[in-house]
Amino acid sequence: MRVVIAEDLALLRDGLSRLLRAHGFDVVAEVGDPVALAAVLAGQPVDVAIVDVRMPPTFTNEGLVAAIAARARRPGMPVMVLSQYVEQLYARELMLSGSEGIGYLLKDRVADVQTFVDAVRRVAAGGTVLDPKVVAALLARPERREPLGRLTPREREVLGLMAEGRSNAAIAGKLFVTDKAIDKHINNIFMKLDLPMDHDDNRRVLAVLRFLQDSAPTAT
């Protein structure tokens, strides 16, 4: 799998690169700013870009802007955005650039190497992975609006874990129930959210998107 890493701090860039190579990724380029990232993406095929939010020149949210721009040039381009802090606002902006192939995680999550590597693979395959912190904040809101209001607390919990990018088996393990029970919950979620019969992965992404949009700000 061909990966490009955009991170301005050399220490973290090298660490990330070493970690990914050790897990069989082909790191084709390591860059330190958004301009170089755009050049790499234009020059060669890349399966997933891993992008830090804070980069030169202003050291604010260049990475986020670069990720959205990359996806505007190539719709669905898988991007994993890493940051020292997470904001629901940014998660929502990323999802507006299309719902497939998006990851948004705290840098801390890299420490749990296996989960992180799985998340990168999932994003490269077109999945959605949101940081548990973002998901927790979404779940903390009392739902009043349709259609999410129709979900039971257990179904909301399952939907939250789906948003974190977990597989059915992982969700079952986390909630100490059988895979079959999870299948049933997920089918109920799809039904209650009126998601069309389609490829299962695609419906998962759509469900997560609903989840994010439902708690969208009431004013713009």
Binding site: T60, E87, Q88, L89, Y90, R92, K107, D108, A111, P217
Partner: protein, 348 residues
């Protein structure tokens, strides 16, 4: 001062005065006619007219004096009343047959009193000096307040770092050192130590993030006040509507103070108000940044109730900002803060 109907009290006075003038004219006319019909004689109605004119004249003089700019009104009323009295004395002298010119004495007295008043007013320290002295007082107080707040902040940050991230990193280093030493002799224990080191390192990162959030929330630097408030609104457990906008970047310390004020108010909404929803309105008009936070909860918030709003008010004071709280029992609550500041062009 405004009355219940929203009109200044002296506007109503004007109406009353007009009615009075009309009534006096009617009475004066009736008396004049009465004198003519009863066959003339000495012109006594002049005295009645004078009696009617005195209250009217005095009121008109006071009204005229009140038109002077604030700060000079007392002297202006004094001046106009003195003139009105002098004119009346002259009229009385005329009606009395214009004999010995006695009004010169009371008029001279009035003139002396007025002159002394003018002299005293003219020698007062002027308004500009007074304003500067007041300003120095405010600056001295708020500067000390700002330094106190800053010192307390630094102390809190130091303690947070010491008890949190630093302690955890020490623990990580110890776990790693132990793992290194056991690598040869008891390799089976090493995996557990490494896991422990990793989880502790992640917890240290969490601590650092909390501390950094308290110093300067990254989203504030990224997006400015408006974006940061929108991000904050998303993280609150009740629906928060954000309206208005700033249209540029306020100076960083003002943005930061305004952000923490909104954060404090929204935290109060969650903790105390029992509200179903809240709102934040931002605007910058005529060189003043104003931010209002409201909710539909139970009310009863007071600026001196807890330390939270008090601290916010103190912080804003350094920028000549103000905080006002409207929170009747039963709600709703609105906290409004205003800070004079200039904006730089929006960051692109």
């Amino acid at each position: 001062m405004r009355t219940a109907r929203g009109w200044p009290w002296y506007a109503r006075w004007h109406t009353v005065l007009r009615f009075e003038a009309f009534l006096s004219a009617a009475i004066g006319l009736a008396v004049g006619l009465g004198w003519a019909l009863t066959g003339g004689g000495p012109f006594w109605p002049g005295w009645v007219w004078l009696g009617l004119a005195i209250p009217l004249g005095l009121q008109a003089a006071v009204r005229w004096g009140l038109r002077a700019p604030k700060g000079q009104r007392f002297l202006a009323v004094h001046t106009s009343l003195s003139f009105a009295l002098a004119v009346m004395l002259l009229l009385i002298w005329l009606l009395g047959g214009a004999q010995y010119f006695w009004p010169v004495w009371p008029i001279a007295g009035l003139a002396i009193v007025l002159g002394v008043h003018r002299w005293v007013v003219g020698n007062r320290p002027n308004a500009r000096e007074q304003a500067l002295a007041d300003r120095v007082g405010v600056l001295t107080r708020t500067r000390r307040g700002a330094l106190d707040v800053q010192a307390a902040e630094l102390q809190r940050i130091e303690r947070d770092l010491h008890d949190g991230a630093q302690a955890r990193l020490v623990s990580v280093a110890m776990s790693l050192g132990l793992a290194e030493s056991l690598l040869e002799t008891k390799p089976d224990l090493v995996a557990g130590l490494l896991t422990e080191a990793r989880t502790t390192a992640v917890a240290a990162l969490d601590d650092l993030r909390t501390v950094m959030q308290g110093i300067q929330p990254p989203v504030l630097a990224d997006r400015g006040l408006e974006g940061a408030v929108r991000a904050l609104a998303l993280d609150i457990a009740v629906p928060v509507t954000v309206t208005g906008g700033v249209g540029g970047r306020a100076p960083l310390p003002v943005e930061s103070a305004a952000y923490f004020t909104v954060a404090e108010c929204l935290a109060n909404v969650i903790k105390h108000s029992n509200a179903m929803s809240a709102w934040v309105d931002l605007r910058h008009e005529a060189g003043v940044l104003s931010v209002a936070v409201g909710d539909n909860g139970v009310g009863g918030a007071r600026i001196d109730g807890g330390t939270g709003l008090r601290g916010v008010a103190r912080r804003l004071e350094s920028f000549d900002g103000t905080v006002t709280v409207s929170s009747p029992a039963g709600g709703p609550t609105t906290v409004t803060m205003e800070v004079p500041c200039e904006l730089s062009s929006p960051k692109t």
